[in-house]
């Protein structure tokens, strides 16, 4: 056995401390009665109370959730269809073209997506607000769903589809009884990723939203530009917990999925 150096562990510990310190710093001061993020004067839940009393903010939270759920649901449907279209594409060049187009929005900086969508909606005469934000979120979530679903479709042995047809399944049966159940972990993952992208998005929404409609990210930005307010700390604590729950849920699904696959390898 080689003697293990402690430096790797020290290094990793340092990285993790730096990664998490700001988050816990933020959460810690959400309980500060002092009103600043500097010296902790005493414990209070006042900021949380204020948060829940803020009707405008609650509506924004609701908007954010509705946009996230709607956009990820719709983009999941279109994305799954798109992934199927790519996989069933016979011509290699057409397949490659679709994949390249798919990746454009994934690699494009948010600013460009936001700016170009702003032009698009203005030209199309769509009023900036709920509709434009929803459409943009659907648009940038679709390629993510495709990317999450494609590997599952590609790893699926073509003999599974042959087997289903061999056993008498028609086109629709093959899709609903074999393909969709098989790729469901990928579909879930895609939906989930779309959800988090939508919830997290700031830049695109910032460009395409109009007066009177705001999502949480945009709201936090305008609050933060005005300076420190411990409301935001309270809000971020809640958001952090929410993220942890989402991530745990996501990993639970992924874990269950990989465990069944792993068991297959073990035997």
């Amino acid at each position: 056995m080689k003697k293990k150096s402690v430096w790797p562990r020290v290094y990793l510990a340092f990285i993790f401390i730096v990664l998490y310190a700001p988050i816990f710093y933020l959460m810690f001061y959400s309980f500060n009665s002092g009103g600043t993020m500097n010296n902790f004067e005493g414990f209070t839940l006042e900021w949380y109370k204020e948060l829940f009393g803020d009707k405008r903010l609650l509506i924004i939270v609701l908007n954010t959730i509705i946009i996230a759920l709607l956009s990820s649901a719709i983009s999941t449907i279109i994305g799954v269809l798109g992934a199927l279209a790519i996989v069933y594409m016979r011509k290699k060049t057409a397949k490659q073209a679709l994949l390249s187009f798919n990746n454009v929005l994934i690699v494009s900086p948010d600013v460009i997506i936001g700016a170009s969508f702003l032009i698009l909606f203005t030209m199309a005469g769509i009023k900036l607000g709920f509709t434009s934000v929803l459409l943009s979120h659907i648009a940038f979530s679709i390629p993510i769903v495709v990317i999450m679903v494609l590997p599952k479709l590609q790893e699926m042995s073509s003999s599974l589809i042959d087997a289903a047809r061999d056993l008498g399944a028609g086109h629709w049966d093959v899709l609903s009884k074999v393909v969709l159940p098989y790729i469901s972990p990928g579909v879930f993952a895609g939906f989930f990723m779309a959800l988090t992208y939508s919830l997290d998005d700031f830049a695109v929404t910032f460009f395409v939203t109009g007066n009177g409609f705001s999502t949480l990210s945009v709201e936090i930005y305008s609050l933060a530009r005005r300076g420190i307010s411990l409301n935001i700390n309270a809000l971020s604590t809640l958001l952090f917990l929410f993220t942890i729950i989402l991530v745990a849920g996501y990993y639970f699904i992924m874990q269950r999925n990989s465990r069944s696959a792993g068991a297959g390898v073990q035997k």
């Binding site: 289903a164 047809r165 061999d166 008498g168 028609g170 049966d173 159940p181 098989y182 068991a263 297959g264």
Partner: protein, 368 residues
């Protein structure tokens, strides 16, 4: 058994996108209730034949008949055949019971009927009590059986098996060979089995089609093919062989390795160049003087049931010998063999010509 043709290929050709031809004008008949094996190296077209029968791919030319009806354009889900896939293709999201029930559910069979038939099929493959298991919890051999049960539960007229034993270890494979053979006898349905393993083919089949480069090289019972290979390829592919060039002096007399020997072949031209095949187990070791051919032992391996040695005669022909007797490397020995052990192969003879020649022997009173 009455001869009843169930599948007929009539000059079927398959090529992919102007690329090389995979199947080249293949014609054959499959009779009801027999165990067939399509045998050949990878890329010979055996799996393509299977996929054509199943309906996963379409013939470029030629006709495929099923019970006398042309079925080139019938989609896979409307055909009376079921396939056991090489990777089993079991649905990972369904348990054993639901995998087997899949085809019946598609056909909207009544639940009570499904239950009866699934259980019966699982009993047939010795998997009673495994209904609730997930596919991932099954071993390779068990998955194999589930795949077979899933095929037989639909009561097809033909079952296609695409190298289904290739993923199993040696012991399990031998076991499954017996089981498959037994299962086919009990069910009485036609099995078409694809493999590249000649031992498997010889052990299980009623009839073997040996394929190479998109053509059927030879068809016949396992003993026919083993004893009378039609050409170099078949002789080489089925079992191990010594193949040396020779010359037919006249009927019943052939020359090779610098000597003339008595043989049982006739009907060839005088002084026609031929290939001579002698199986290694037909060669017997004896002393230098008593042997028909004199060779020097070059190397020897102990193979368990026999010794395998490589010898060279004076003309530097290589002779592979399987013998229960031991020799010494470097020793000069003699090799003995019966006239029947000599198989004469005409160069470039087709299967039809070959069959005709064999028939002429029988007319002359030579029974093989």
């Amino acid at each position: 058994m009455t001869k009843e043709v169930i599948i007929r290929f009539d000059h079927v050709t398959k090529r992919y996108d102007n690329d090389a031809v995979v199947l080249d004008h293949v014609s054959f008949e499959i009779e009801r209730g027999k165990f067939y094996t399509l045998l050949g190296p990878s890329g010979c077209g055996k799996t393509t034949i299977l996929r054509l029968i199943a309906g996963f791919t379409e013939a470029s030319e030629g006709d495929i008949y099923f019970n006398g009806k042309r079925m080139n354009n019938v989609p896979a889900n409307k055909r009376q055949v079921n396939t056991v896939f090489q990777d089993y293709a079991l649905f990972p999201h369904l348990n054993v019971y639901e995998n087997v029930a899949f085809g019946l559910r598609i056909k909207k069979v009544k639940n009570s009927e499904i239950d009866r038939r699934v259980k019966e099929a699982l009993r047939f493959v010795n998997l009673s009590g495994y209904e609730k298991r997930e596919i991932t919890e099954m071993s390779g051999g068990q998955r194999q059986r589930v795949a077979i049960a899933r095929a037989i539960v639909n009561e097809p007229e033909v079952i296609l098996l695409d190298e289904p034993l290739s993923a199993l270890d040696l012991k399990l494979r031998t076991e499954m060979q017996y089981e498959l053979r037994d299962l086919q006898k009990r069910l009485g349905i036609t099995f078409i089995f694809v493999t590249h393993d000649q031992e498997e083919a010889l052990a299980m089949s009623d009839e073997i089609f040996v394929l190479n480069q998109g053509k059927i090289q030879q068809s016949g019972t396992p003993t026919d093919i083993y004893d009378e290979p039609i050409n170099r390829f078949v002789a080489d592919f089925i079992g191990e062989s010594n193949i040396v060039p020779g010359k037919m002096i006249r009927d019943f007399e052939v020359e090779f390795a610098g000597k003339v020997f008595e043989c049982v072949d006739q009907g060839l031209n005088q002084n026609e160049s031929v290939d001579i095949v002698i199986r290694p187990e037909d060669l017997e070791i004896t002393s230098w003087n008593e042997g028909k051919i004199q060779v020097k032992v070059d190397s020897q391996l102990f193979r368990g049931v026999h010794y395998e040695m490589i010898c060279y005669d004076e003309a530097q022909n290589e002779w592979l010998v399987h013998s229960t007797k031991k020799a010494t490397v470097g020793e000069k020995i003699g090799l003995n063999f019966e006239p029947e052990a000599i198989h004469v192969m005409r160069l470039g003879e087709t299967e039809e010509e070959f069959d005709k020649r064999l028939e002429s022997y029988q007319e002359a009173g030579y029974e093989q």
